[in-house]
Symmetry: C2
Subunit: 611 residues, 2 copies
């Protein structure tokens, strides 16, 4: 009897008790109907309910920040097995490359922002958003502590803690004053706050037109709006009666510190705003306006091709913008800015009305705290490995301006590479053996690929030959010392990525793709060989693809430097700039808004009301 | 020799020294050419230079405020013999009827403002603008004291004094808290700041479509923007984790105090914003949202026709907006608002997240100071006569919300009227004698015209007949006592003008027209008879023409009450509202901006980013 299967018992019962059979049919049909009904109703909650029923708990991903890095991560994440919580003090993403335009009212602040909730609401992934500031990261207990930052409300701040399984830190940076006295108190900032592409999926479609130039020092929206108001206030103030000529000139002296793309774009926009719009309304003060651009290096736009630098310097000279090269700011008081001239060390002071500071980025206090906690001191940003994982922490990722990738040196791992390549353990490496691992080496150490490219070595054998002397290629064998010598120059090719939106956006998309295929790649790793361990890395490491850079110079003139050293300067680049930016805006809404803003500006000029 | 005239000497010299003649001809011709050249170049300064040359000094007109009253005055002023100086803490005019739309992001703040310098720059009148706050009026010495209010600048405030020959006070009012405890600290205000039509000349063209409904309590632009941010912040705050249901409900309880057109429009806009846009982004909190409208009187919109009131109350009930009538706010703490129910005196408290206060207007401190200075105490606003001249002051005018017209009573002047009308000094007035002055009486005392209209008396004789009994009309004669009796009811028809943009705008245009024709009317006065003096008044007194009012109720429904008790409610009124407002905007620029804002809203909804 015991061996009766369930089916046998069932069929016997069915035969023995005919009324039972009816009951079963009825309950099956009605039950099925009920199930079908409840499923139809629950479909919208399907993702949420599914893991509970199947017993799989969703992994909690906490994302800090909704700049380029955070937003592009969110847009590209499409694996419903995560429960995502986003924490940011601002409930919107801002398209920072257009911030310099906001400072002069060419584009409205509202036009370049998209609410985060709008970006994530149609996703198949559960995303919650908390408008709050994270003030502490506890990596030990996998918690972040947050505080609602709504000081417009009459109620006190509210604190809460959020658990995570994975933490994505994308909080950006703050402006770097280099501890110059008086800067924090007296200057306006064009600084970085947001860091990662919102264009997510469309990024893949049209990568070739994806340029985000000035995000290195793009400002927060509030800063940009404040700069706009201050410019107009300066003109109002200079128009007041009973002012001496000297005082009027002081008030209308605008100083831009930093000759990078943002500082240059701001100076150019300001010049256009003044000459195209403000002089009509303030004709009595137009003679007193002066714009000065201070740059500590020998040239402005020094990360660009020399042709662009020369063109920009010439154009600014024609426009009457006073470019002072080799001038380092040493002090700012409420009415004067002091600079030291490089070379002769001479110190100059000049009276000013407004200073806009746009030189490099510094570390946010909370990131600094976290770095101390995990033993990363004396660094500018969180160090991560090539997979964007924070060093010394489990399941914490950092991207955008708050992080730098700590690229591993070939020379650190040279012994491991050698022994991995030396399959027959002969103590020497043949060309053939080396060729078998060169792909993995190039993947793992991008400086290797660059080195080969720069040395124009098509074949790895050439490299070994150089180290060994002129012997028949196939027959070359190297011992460990010779191998070290062959690769000794490779690490000079390492370079840090710039702190731009372009980098942040690509990192966001990269990390989302890793998260999307986490389980799959756990099973079938697709990264390069682990030289110091066994097997392969789960993913390909992050690789930045530079797509070029724009530098708007005012007067409908823009300089563009595209990959392959292709340089274009003039009105055609301006139109390229317009079309690239319009196409890369985060949504159809912002796209329409920005384009109508541009049209409004063409027709009516920029607005000069002080709001 | 001494009697030689200049001409004789000149002709002698001409004959004696032929070479001199050549010199003179050359210098005359070239001098003329120089003069002609310099004149051609100086044409733009012609107005400025002319009075200096002719010895006529331009009269200095100082205008305080750039709201509806001030701006419409500036737009309509076209007599180049004035030197106008405008002083306002804001360098723009705001189209206040659209402020409730700004509170919910239906229209952008930037779209409804026009820089004052733009408005005045193409005028033939010299207009200077100072962005400063007037903090003291010295009517004795004809000076105003001002202070630059730019706190964005690092430099201290700058004070200066401005002389005037004529002063135009158009500074508006501030919100009235009725000294309710806690209101100033805890409430947002939808209040009046600006007061007078910017539509100036176009006003005359299309008066029939000129409606400005809600300006009575329209808010300053900054307030409107702050309200918008607070609404979105409330939703963000309510979405935070770890909140009790009770706390969430409190945060999302929006209380509007004041059932006038502004309060009603704001409540309706807020309801639309929540149901059309925010619930999509914050689905988890939508059940907790509540809007309460508190009104101390028996009905909302009580200045409107009863049909509109009933419709609005019904619509709000259907929409779920809780309208509490007869509720007076007695106290506001940081989380609770207490009301007293009229009638039973019962006190209720309810928790709230945000209170918007929109009940009536109060006096600005500087206006209060000035009133004290000129002996006008215990009043809500500056008292003026019917020509908008401030009582007790020479050459000072006040208009808009900071002023009320102190209409003279017929009964005050009854003896003077009688003796003026009694041309033959017979001690009695015949109908014929009375008819000769009735036009002047109606002009001077508008209540008279209203009285006749309301009593439906086509002929003045009917009035006298009523006082005298049924005698043959022409033969009626009244003595002073009978005349007093006949006119005893007239003054009951007097009413104060509402503090709306419509009134302020009409006053601005009226005053500008007076200024334009000041000299002309000095010579040929065109006003009514001076009953207490001799001759005529220079100008017709100001007469307000009510052109109707709108009350937007949300959901594309608007109520309109047009002159002649014509009432229209529904979507057609909404379209009338759109077209009237679009047509009345201050410039083609703002018109285009607002219309594109509306289109953007139709297509993309309102923006919910917290900037």
């Amino acid at each position: 009897m015991r061996s009766f299967t369930f089916y046998e018992r069932f069929s016997r019962a069915f035969h023995d008790y005919p009324s039972l059979s009816k009951l079963i049919i009825i309950s099956t049909v009605s039950g099925g109907g009920l199930i079908a009904y409840s499923e139809a109703n629950a479909s919208s909650d399907a993702y949420k309910a599914a893991p509970m029923e199947t017993g799989i708990k969703k992994k909690k991903v906490v994302v800090l920040g909704t700049g380029w890095a955070g937003t592009s991560f969110l847009k590209s994440l499409n694996n419903p097995s995560y429960d995502v919580q986003v924490i940011s003090p601002r409930n919107y993403f801002a398209f920072t490359p257009l911030l310099p335009s906001v400072t002069c009212g060419t584009v409205e602040a509202r036009s370049i922002v998209e609410p985060v909730r709008n970006i994530v609401r149609k996703k198949n992934v559960d995303v919650s958003f908390w408008e709050a500031e994270c003030f502490k990261i506890d990596a030990q207990n996998k918690k972040v502590y947050c505080r609602s930052n709504q000081n417009t409300s009459v109620n006190g701040n509210k604190e809460f803690a959020v658990d995570y399984d994975y933490l994505v830190i994308a909080m950006g940076a703050r402006p770097n004053t280099f501890n110059t006295p008086g800067v924090e108190e007296n200057c306006h900032f064009l600084k970085v706050i947001f860091l990662a592409s919102p264009v997510g999926s469309c990024l893949a479609v049209s990568l070739c037109t994806y340029y985000f130039p000035n995000c290195k020092t793009a400002s927060s929206l509030e800063d940009a709006q404040r700069i706009r108001r201050t410019v107009i206030d300066s003109f109002e103030k200079a128009s007041l009666p009973d002012l001496s000529d000297e005082e009027r000139k002081r008030i209308l002296h605008f100083v831009v510190v930093g000759g990078g793309p943002t500082g240059v774009e701001f100076a150019a926009e300001l010049h256009d705003f003044v000459t195209e719009d403000l002089v009509k309304l303030y004709p009595m003060v137009k003679e007193s306006v002066k714009i000065t651009l201070l740059e500590a290096a020998d040239h402005i736009l020094n990360m660009f091709d020399q042709r662009i630098t020369v063109f920009a310097e010439d154009k600014f000279q024609r426009d009457g913008i006073d470019v002072k090269l080799g001038s380092m700011v040493v002090k700012v008081t409420d009415k004067e800015i002091s600079t030291k001239v490089r070379g002769n060390g001479e110190t100059n002071s000049m009276p000013y009305g407004m200073v806009v500071w746009s030189t490099g980025i510094g570390t946010r206090p909370i990131v600094k705290d976290f770095m101390k906690q995990i033993g990363q001191t004396n660094r500018r940003a969180l160090a991560t490995d090539e997979w964007l994982r924070v060093e010394g922490c489990d399941n914490v990722y950092a991207l955008g301006d708050c992080a730098t990738i700590n690229q591993r040196r070939v020379m650190e791992d040279i012994a491991a590479i050698f022994s991995k390549a030396d399959k027959d353990n002969s103590g020497t490496l043949t060309v053939k053996e080396f060729q078998e691992v060169i792909k993995d080496i190039c993947e793992r150490y991008p400086q290797m690929e660059l080195y080969l490219k720069n040395k124009k070595m098509g074949n790895i054998a050439d490299m070994l030959k150089e180290a060994k002397g002129d012997v028949a290629k196939e027959a070359i064998e190297l011992n460990i010392e010779e191998f070290k010598k062959a690769l000794s120059e490779v690490d000079t090719q390492m370079k840090n990525l710039p702190a731009t939106a372009q980098v942040a956006a690509q990192q966001g998309v990269y990390l989302a793709k890793c998260f999307n295929r986490m389980e799959e790649c756990e099973r079938n790793p697709e990264g390069p060989l682990r030289f110091r361990g066994s097997g392969r890395h789960r993913f390909q490491p992050f690789r930045y693809k530079h797509l070029g850079q724009f530098a708007p110079l005012g007067g409908e003139q823009t300089a563009a430097q595209l990959p392959g050293d292709w340089v274009s300067i003039g009105q055609s680049s301006q139109w390229l700039w317009y079309s690239v930016y319009a196409s890369k805006l985060v949504s159809w809404r912002t796209r329409t808004l920005v384009i109508t803003d541009w049209m409004r500006r063409f027709v009516f000029g920029r607005d000069s009301s002080g709001i």
